[in-house]
């Protein structure tokens, strides 16, 4: 098997370290296991932190304190941001100790496999995320496609959970989720296609590199694409306002209704790690990843630059995550038919328009490359802002002229 398309910067770094200190390379299998374990621990700890953050942010938005009592006494009666800092850790321990209950009439194999699959898929998708200049577990040349294709299996585990629970609420949740995730995958893919066109590569590090070369984040020429991606991504991770598959008021907890203990925790962990995943992809594709304009890249990426790059990446990623939480606690849940209408009739056509704009920029890049001169940043900004203004103008005209109400029959009309 040729290894040219699998390149692991992190693995290479570890190998160099090991050669320097121990005098030999780490065996490939051990290296793989090592990196997987690091990834797993990182994701689990981040998810614990994010759950705590989500609870505190929801509390702040609703003028409450959130969890304040658990943890050491000296942290109590201080700011709401330190009280109850250990809440999710204790929750995790409680969930670990709980009995795993498989309902008697459930289909046991898919029932147990579903939570494993959903978390496994999300861990697998993280392998290509470029955390810092030379820090990604694997730098595949089909990186972005890999993430998208692997995470398309998430819906499968939700269907498995919904069906095998043998519960009508679970089944309805799984059904809704399958419809929602399949529909929103399409605008999501088209929104990502524009930046890929401009970068000319699917490799995650390559996309960051292309943005550094252009001198402008892909957010500028493809602002529309970024917004479409973000909306579709929120729908993909089933978070409010698109949490229709697990709408508490109608479906108990949707496809997770029958799960208990650690199996439930796996779904919960997967939700939060998927949230990180989509934010990390958005950071890479639209926000320039670990780079900021004016961030100089050294010849040999050393530890300082890796840490700095990682910090910048995390800053951007957490900004997107916070935005997602803010949206969650601000908007009410969307109705299923509105959701479908928005995905197919609004986001998808807009994604096509965005693709055309990006293709324009890509042509400009190709011409500049042929002429041997750098792409004018001003032109990219011009295209981005101009196209955005045009689209917003056209949409507002369209909305004034044709409110969608005409699609709905008036009370007097018989259909």
């Amino acid at each position: 098997m040729s290894d040219s398309w699998i390149y692991s910067p992190a693995g290479e770094y570890l190998n160099r370290l090991s050669e320097h200190h121990l005098g030999r390379e780490i065996p490939a299998l051990l290296l793989m296991v090592l990196m997987l374990v690091v990834m797993l621990v990182f994701l689990a700890v981040s998810a614990l932190f994010l759950i705590w953050l989500e609870r505190k942010i929801s509390a702040r938005i609703q003028n409450r304190m959130g969890p304040m009592l658990s943890g050491p006494a000296f942290l109590r009666n201080r700011s709401m941001w330190v009280g109850g800092a250990f809440q999710t850790a204790f929750d995790a321990i409680k969930l670990l100790l709980k009995e795993l209950i498989v309902p008697g009439r459930a289909d046991p194999v898919p029932f147990v496999l579903a939570p494993v699959l959903i978390f496994g898929v999300s861990v697998a998708a993280f392998l290509v995320i470029p955390w810092a200049p030379a820090l990604s577990v694997a730098d595949l040349n089909i990186g972005l496609l890999y993430v998208v294709s692997v995470s398309s299996l998430t819906v499968l585990s939700i269907i498995m959970a919904g069906w095998s629970s043998n519960n009508k609420y679970s089944l309805l949740g799984g059904l809704r989720s399958a419809a929602q995730m399949l529909s929103y995958e399409i605008p999501l893919l088209f929104a990502l296609m524009g930046p890929v066109l401009m970068a000319g590569t699917l490799s995650m590090q390559g996309i960051i590199e292309a943005q550094r070369e252009l001198g402008v984040w892909f957010l500028v020429p493809s602002f529309l694409g970024a917004v479409i991606y973000y909306v579709a991504a929120i729908a993909e991770v089933n978070r409010p306002p698109f949490d229709i598959p697990e709408a508490e008021s109608e479906l108990v907890a949707g496809y997770v209704s029958e799960y208990s203990g650690m199996m439930f925790a796996m779904f919960f962990l997967a939700e939060f790690s998927n949230m990180m995943l989509v934010s990390a992809i958005a950071t890479t594709v639209f926000l320039g990843g670990w780079a900021v304009p004016g961030f100089p890249l050294p010849e040999q990426p050393d530890l300082l630059y890796t840490l700095l790059g990682g910090a910048i990446f995390f800053l951007k990623m957490y900004a997107l995550i916070l935005l997602m939480m803010w949206i969650r606690w601000t908007f009410p849940r969307v109705r299923p038919d509105h959701l479908m209408n928005m995905g197919w009739k609004f986001l998808l056509p807009l994604a096509f328009v965005n693709l055309m704009i990006c293709a324009g920029v890509a042509i400009m890049q190709a011409e500049a490359r042929a002429a041997g001169e750098p792409v004018s940043r001003l032109a990219v900004w011009g295209i981005g802002v101009g196209a955005l203004l045009l689209i917003v103008g056209a949409l507002s005209l369209f909305r004034e002229a044709e409110r969608p109400y005409h699609l709905i029959p008036s009370p007097s009309e018989k259909v």
Binding site: M1, I142, L145, L156, L182, E185, L202, H338, I408, P409
Partner: protein
């Protein structure tokens, strides 16, 4: 490519494929099909075609099989194991399978494996693949999209039949914003 890995993957393809046909539980059959699809993706990976592998996962395992399971969930009363296919269906299916196996056996026997093996392990860059789709293989590429369009139109035609007896829910008439 190590033979042990290949035979493992081959088992991962064949055993679930048999389960698809033999399982009495339709939902299990659908899940087995996905495992089989993933195994095929692994074969593409071993042939140095990561792009095709990713597409296999995205399109077959992630979309087509999921739509299939989705259809199971919507279908009423599909979990009856006693639902047997007719005798003539079984005979016809067996005949088609035999013919297909014959064709594939012929292709397998007449291929020059050494040559193909060398080509396969070299791999093709993504750009070359894209270019050949839009130049040398433009007609088949477009024909496939036409096929998909036909399926889409067919699905809509079938689905629209129920339009006549659609009822209007009172909630739909008021308070629908956006």
């Amino acid at each position: 490519m190590s033979p042990l890995l290949f035979y493992t993957v081959a088992l991962v393809i064949i055993v679930p494929a048999l389960a698809v046909v033999l399982s009495e539980n339709l939902f299990h059959a659908g899940l087995s099909m996905i495992v089989s699809f993933l195994g095929i993706a692994a074969v593409y990976l071993m042939l140095s075609a990561p792009f095709v592998a990713a597409m296999q996962v995205l399109v077959y395992a992630g979309a087509i099989a999921v739509i299939l399971l989705f259809a199971f969930m919507l279908t009423h009363d599909i979990m009856q194991p006693q639902r047997q296919s007719a005798k003539f269906q079984q005979t016809a299916a067996g005949a088609v399978c035999l013919i297909l196996a014959g064709f594939m056996g012929r292709v397998a026997l007449s291929s020059n494996w050494g040559d193909l093996n060398r080509q396969a392990t070299e791999g093709v860059p993504l750009g070359v693949l894209g270019k050949s789709f839009l130049t040398d293989y433009l007609v088949p590429f477009e024909l496939i999209s036409l096929l998909l369009l036909m399926t889409l139109v067919g699905a809509i035609v079938i689905a629209r039949k129920e339009e006549k007896d659609r009822t209007v829910w009172p909630e739909d008439e008021v308070g629908t914003d956006s």
